[in-house]
């Protein structure tokens, strides 16, 4: 099966499933619900955005969810992560994945939620075969590229997503490789569609001067930050305002190389992203986690137009923007 990855739709839903999922079955249909219940999802990096996403797909009734994040919980994690009880005697000394897993299990007893120990940057291809969906958050560019390439090398279809929130800005990247789905036309008719996605490497290699004028400034700003952290060997979010001069210098280098006017990446925006560090604004996490949940359900059910291939949100203007990179004309 193209795109869905969740196997066929044979086997009926149990009475318990029909009762619990009553409302949403009316939205996406029995077939989509069956596919959902056979899908296996891996999430690497537990923070405000990913826990919102996890909450949404666990409630929706995904087959299984595996969490990977060995970091020990600290007070900083409480800011946007409502799955961690604000009580040190509960979270103290335990990994983020462990504490979040414990909370998520209660959300829906019909979903298998478990912990995968390990380092995402060392994940091997065979391990990925267990999953239909892989979501990465707060990972280095190197890890993102590495896992994205590994997903693409597998013979089974694995959808790849990254999601990040900095301050009150958010970014989602989507790679569905080849994805065929049913598109609803106005008036109720349906049509089969097929999309071909670029890999993350292919997308970010497109020269900036080839991109449309209206391309979101967040796209460029996130690339500058990513590039800086990669070359300095920093973990994502570890760059701070004290690095502003070095980061602005990197902005100049990249803009020169890519023939982009520096003013397209405002200094105030770079400052905001640096000041945020690892901090996330909870309502923005809810929006991003909601969008990603919806995207993953679309990809599993093969129903509805998916995002291709970047999504941006910024509280400053309250807008959600989809960027298709490379733009269709550049192909």
């Amino acid at each position: 099966m193209d795109g869905g990855g969740a196997g066929g739709a044979e086997g009926e839903l149990t009475a318990q499933e029909t009762a619990l999922y009553d409302r949403q079955i009316r939205v996406w249909g029995v077939d989509a619900q069956k596919r959902l219940s056979k899908a296996h999802v891996l999430v690497c990096g537990m923070n405000g955005t990913t826990i919102e996403f996890c909450k949404n797909i666990v409630l929706a009734g995904v087959g299984s969810l595996s969490l990977m994040d060995d970091h020990v919980v600290t007070e900083d994690d409480l800011n946007a992560n409502f799955l961690i009880p604000p009580d040190e005697s509960i979270y103290g000394g335990r990994s983020r994945a462990n504490v979040c897993c414990e909370s998520l299990i209660d959300f829906n007893p019909m979903v298998r939620v478990s912990v995968e120990k390990g380092d995402p940057s060392l994940i091997d291809g065979e391990f990925l075969d267990k999953f239909d969906i892989v979501v990465l958050s707060r990972a280095s560019l190197k890890t993102k590229l590495f896992i994205n390439e590994n997903c693409r090398k597998r013979s089974k279809h694995i959808a790849f997503y990254t999601i990040d929130c900095k301050d009150s800005c958010g970014e989602i990247f989507v790679d569905l490789q080849k994805h065929s789905y049913v598109q609803k036309k106005p008036g109720g008719a349906t049509e089969q569609q097929e999309l071909t996605y670029p890999s993350l490497q292919e997308a970010i290699s497109v020269p900036w001067n080839n991109l449309p004028k209206k391309t979101s400034k967040l796209y460029f700003a996130m690339r500058v930050l990513e590039d800086y952290e990669l070359s300095e060997g920093r973990s994502p979010g570890e760059t701070t305002l004290s690095d502003i001069h070095a980061v602005l210098a990197r902005r100049k280098d990249l803009c020169d190389k890519m023939s982009l006017n520096e003013s397209r990446i405002p200094t105030t925006l770079v400052e905001r992203l640096l000041a945020a560090g690892k901090k996330e604004h909870p309502p923005v996490c809810a929006i991003l986690g909601g969008i990603l949940g919806q995207e993953v359900i679309k990809s599993i059910s093969c129903k509805g137009d998916p995002v291709k291939n970047f999504f941006y949100f910024d509280v400053a203007d309250g807008k959600g923007v989809i960027e298709d990179i490379p733009p269709p004309s550049a192909n």
Partner: protein, 476 residues
Amino acid sequence: PKDLKPLSSRYDAQISVFGSKLQKKLRDANVFVVGSGALGCEFLKNLALMGVSCSHRGKITITDDDVIEKSNLSRQFLFRDWNIGQPKSTVAATAASAINSCLHIDALQNRACLETEHVFHDAFWEGLDVVINALDNVNARMYMDMRCLYFQKPLLESGTLGTKCNTQVVIPHLTENYGASRDPPEKQAPMCTVHSFPHNIDHCLTWARSEFEGLLEKTPKEVNSFLSNPAQYVASMKKAGDAQARELLDRVFECLEKEYCETFNDCITWARLKFEGYFSNRVKQLTFTFPEDAATSMGATFWSAPKRFPRPLEFSAADSSHIHFIMSASILRAVSFGISIPDWAKDTDNLTDAVSKVAVPEFKPKSRVKVETDEKTKNISSASVDDAAVIEDLLSKLEACAKKLPPRFQMKPIQFEKDDDTNFHMDLISGHANMRARNYGIPVVDKLKAKIIAGRIIPAIATSTAMAHGHRTCVP
């Protein structure tokens, strides 16, 4: 600027966005959250994470008169299996406090409406900083909008429908209010189509649901309001003196006199006669007034598409759907009269036996019966020659029949509840609609489809709700 400097608190992310002055305002805020469903849960979570109402001065008041049901759990994520049956507001408030223990929150179980203005009184309203609607219907939204306008309070409004959602911020003197713009009206079939000329199952279900509400909820409520204070009731009916008052009285009188039930057998008789009335007599009358070959004043065939010519059903105890209609109708009738339901009521053999003993009078169609055929007519009310005189007469008959009732007699109105599979509500409505569909040669539906249409269920899912709430709480 200094205001945006982090304070090493858990709220640093938003201090860097909105500043520490606003954070202090959020902490001291007096917030009224109306509704504790899917939107309410998302809201409380975000408010708790943002540190809203976390000082001794701030307080969140959340109110919802509903209890938790199984089908809520797929999106109302502060609730768990073991909370089923508990009040939504209390459970949600406890869960929100677990996210942020500094949160000051009060949970109430009152619907916000005219009748609860002694709870949500002027002093309560005047102390509020912001009102957040987490409602599921337009009427309640209109009411809250009106109160916010009156007390000049900002209102955050949002809603979801399937995968779509919307949000609106209402600030006094700055934006238009919620009621100033209208959502597109719900599609409704013309009254005459529903009453006499259905051509699809939706029309049959709409009719079945409105009959259910009329017979089992509205009339019993009306009966109770008459019996609890006859003098006041009589006075108000005399004062109204119109066709609507006359019709209400007609129904109350019918319920207490002709259709009064004392035993379960009375309920079976009632159900059997209703069957005859709905699926046979009604159709015979309609086709007598408009025979199959009737023509319109323009000379066209009256029964032309989309109108469908109906045929009466003949009751047969051997037809299981007939017996099931009798079963659910008589059981619900018994509930509304407070009559205990015998075990044999759910046994079709016993029921068949009992129903065959009911004497069914022969029906003779009347001439000069007016049937509404104008699609523009919104409600069907036949104006009578002298409503006031008829009302006088009905009231005196009613007072006489009240004397025969047991002391302090009250009926038990039934509120339609679609999600309980054991309460016979959907059985009666889908049975009624399907029987009517048979009258008109319309394909019948199963109970699930019937439930969607009759329950006017608006599909709701977690992701839209999360997004709507995220958007809403972003607005300072």
